[in-house]
């Protein structure tokens, strides 16, 4: 059963990846291109300022060593993007299926489709949305190379904390459901998750490395594109996997509906 669910998760992840890639290609890539153009114009301006300075001193203009291009832009924005999104989405599809196998029938009485949809919504909030509200996605040219270690640590730490808090909130909901009812327990657990995450986000250090003159609308559009792609991926994953799991589990379990006599 778990193996079949895992296969279903990987397949749902693959479909989600294709749609997510298409969305990124149409909505996200133009913003990436604009951000790279901004980066290049900044570098050119810097090189020109250096050359002018050298000329004023009567020295020959310094020759800038350009980094060799390992992967061309057309490859990065097509095969590279598809591979990256594909591996990411299928990996999350597989992990999603494993978590589904674990929670199905253990957290309330929701059916397979509903369990899958709720789980995907929780995954999207815990793994992408909550961490992104503190450390949002950044386009090229935003972010200093020397702080990559710190930024990666902070981001991954927040993702793990968020995931742990979401698991704790789910356990809280399960233990309260018997006493105050499922609806109230879910609301209480939801507020508990939000309260803890607001506290954690306020406690962690802020990162602001947007270069001067970077267009605000471009930053907004890039982040919205990132949000949209992730939301699309999780939605497809949750809904599609739910259909698959419902068929798989429903086929194994005999229907208990009474026959009208």
């Amino acid at each position: 059963m778990t193996g079949k669910l895992l296969t279903g998760g990987l397949l749902a992840g693959l479909v989600a990846a294709v749609l997510c890639f298409s969305f990124f290609k149409v909505v996200g890539e133009p913003t990436v291109e604009r951000a790279i153009a901004f980066e290049q114009s900044m570098e050119e301006a810097k090189a020109k300022a250096k050359a002018d300075e050298a000329a004023a001193k009567g020295l020959p203009a310094p020759t800038e060593q350009t980094e060799p291009e390992l992967v061309s832009r057309p490859v990065q924005s097509s095969v590279g993007l598809l591979t990256g999104v594909g591996v990411f989405s299928m990996a999350f599809g597989g992990l999603f299926a494993l978590v589904f196998a674990l929670v199905y029938g253990r957290f309330g009485e929701l059916g397979a489709r509903a369990t899958s949809a709720v789980l995907a919504a929780e995954g999207f909030v815990a793994i992408y949305l909550a961490p992104a509200l503190k450390y949002p996605a950044n386009p090229p040219s935003v972010g200093l190379p020397e702080t990559i270690d710190m930024r990666t640590s902070l981001y991954l730490a927040l993702v793990l904390i968020s995931l742990a808090v979401m698991i704790a909130a789910s356990l809280l909901r399960r233990s309260l459901a018997g006493r105050i009812g499922g609806w109230n327990a879910a609301i209480l657990a939801g507020f508990a998750y939000i309260a803890v995450m607001v506290g954690v986000s306020l406690a962690l250090p802020s990162v602001n490395e947007v270069p001067e003159g970077f267009p605000a609308d471009l930053l907004w559009q890039f982040r919205i594109a990132s949000l949209g792609g992730q939301a699309l991926m999780w939605a497809i994953l949750g809904l599609l996997f739910g259909v698959y799991a419902e068929r798989l589990i429903g086929a194994k379990r005999p229907a208990l509906r009474p026959v009208h006599a």
């Binding site: 059963m1 778990t2 193996g3 990124f24 996200g28 890539e29 990436v32 390992l70 992967v71 490859v75 990065q76 924005s77 590279g80 993007l81 591979t83 990256g84 999104v85 591996v87 990411f88 299928m90 990996a91 999350f92 597989g94 992990l95 494993l98 196998a101 674990l102 199905y104 029938g105 253990r106 009485e109 397979a112 369990t115 961490p131 992104a132 450390y135 949002p136 996605a137 950044n138 386009p139 090229p140 972010g143 200093l144 190379p145 990559i148 930024r151 990666t152 640590s153 981001y155 991954l156 890039f222 594109a225 990132s226 792609g229 992730q230 589990i249 229907a255 208990l256 509906r257 009474p258």
Partner: protein
């Protein structure tokens, strides 16, 4: 008067933990390695020398929300 009858409801049946465990261990590890390569490799930490993996998945890393550069 007909006696009151309760309809049996199909309750979800949990999958036994011992069936999930081996899949979760090996599958989970492999899948997390995949996420690592898309999100982190050749950024903050690196298994391979060079920047090829980083550059290849560059756009996906940015758009998926990972810190890059």
């Amino acid at each position: 008067m007909t006696p009151a009858t309760t309809l049996p409801v199909a309750r979800p049946v949990a999958i036994p933990l011992r069936e999930i465990l081996p899949w979760a261990l090996f599958g989970g590890l492999l899948l997390m390695l995949g996420i690592y390569f898309v999100g982190v490799e050749e950024g903050a930490v690196a298994m391979f020398k060079g920047m090829y993996v980083h550059e290849f998945v560059h756009d996906a890393r940015h758009l998926l929300g990972f810190p890059c550069h």
